[in-house]
């Protein structure tokens, strides 16, 4: 596709439920990033992939959060036992190389009620 695509655009879930957020990066981009952004705040780094492997997952807040990128393209961010504090916009981005900018998707707004 022409840009980074994230689905769904909005997700409302009940506390304690499991959710999956999908990211389809720009074709050919080897690096893929997940960020979380709360209202009026900067994007908070969660994890990034280089190809299929998670090169750095130091930003994942706890073991309820997990992300995969099995074929080096589409990635899924998985959140177990959601809590109200998980409510935020989850952003995905991809980049071609280490010296190129990252392109962001429109984000998935997650609301845990």
């Amino acid at each position: 596709g022409a840009g980074v695509s994230q689905t769904p655009s909005n997700k409302v879930t009940e506390k304690g439920k499991y959710v999956e957020l999908r990211c389809d990066p720009i074709s050919g981009h080897t690096a893929l990033y997940w960020y979380r952004q709360s209202l009026g705040q900067g994007p908070e780094f969660l994890i990034y992939f280089q190809g299929t492997g998670a090169a750095d997952d130091s930003g994942l807040p706890n073991d309820r959060f997990f992300a995969v990128r099995p074929e080096g393209s589409v990635s899924t961010l998985k959140i177990q036992r959601t809590e109200r504090g998980d409510s935020a916009v989850y952003l995905c981005a991809s980049s071609l190389g280490v010296n190129t900018e990252a392109f962001f998707g429109q984000g998935t707004r997650l609301t845990v009620v």
Partner: protein, 115 residues
């Protein structure tokens, strides 16, 4: 560890006046530096980047930024502000940790341009 500081939560400037949005960083090795802009209910848009070479880099919409290694700064500038420049601006740094792709963002600076 990498970090980015944007010391001003908000910057106010009159239309037609020059603007500066400040950014300082901390990173191991040579930094890759970026500025992004976010309009209400829109995604993050890339403005400009510094990778190597000339310390003054030019980007989209008339914005430029100056890399200063000794002060570890990368301030965003524009000679003449427009009302339409009002938005949230984020500075980001990418360092050599974790293979060189990890990119950390600052907390953001809200720019208000008054007509």
């Amino acid at each position: 560890a990498q970090s980015v500081a944007q010391p001003e939560d908000q910057v106010n400037v009159a239309e037609g006046n020059p603007l500066t949005v400040k950014c300082t960083y901390s990173v191991s090795g040579n930094p890759y530096l970026f500025w992004y802009v976010q309009y209400p209910n829109r995604g993050l848009q890339f403005l400009l980047k510094y990778i190597t070479g000339d310390n003054l880099v030019k980007g989209s919409y008339g914005f430029e930024a100056e890399f200063n290694k000794s002060q570890t700064s990368f301030h965003l500038k524009k000679p003449s502000a427009l009302v339409s420049d009002s938005a949230l601006y984020f500075c980001a740094v990418r360092g050599v940790e974790s293979g060189g792709f990890k990119t950390i963002f600052g907390a953001g600076t809200r720019l208000f341009v008054k007509a």
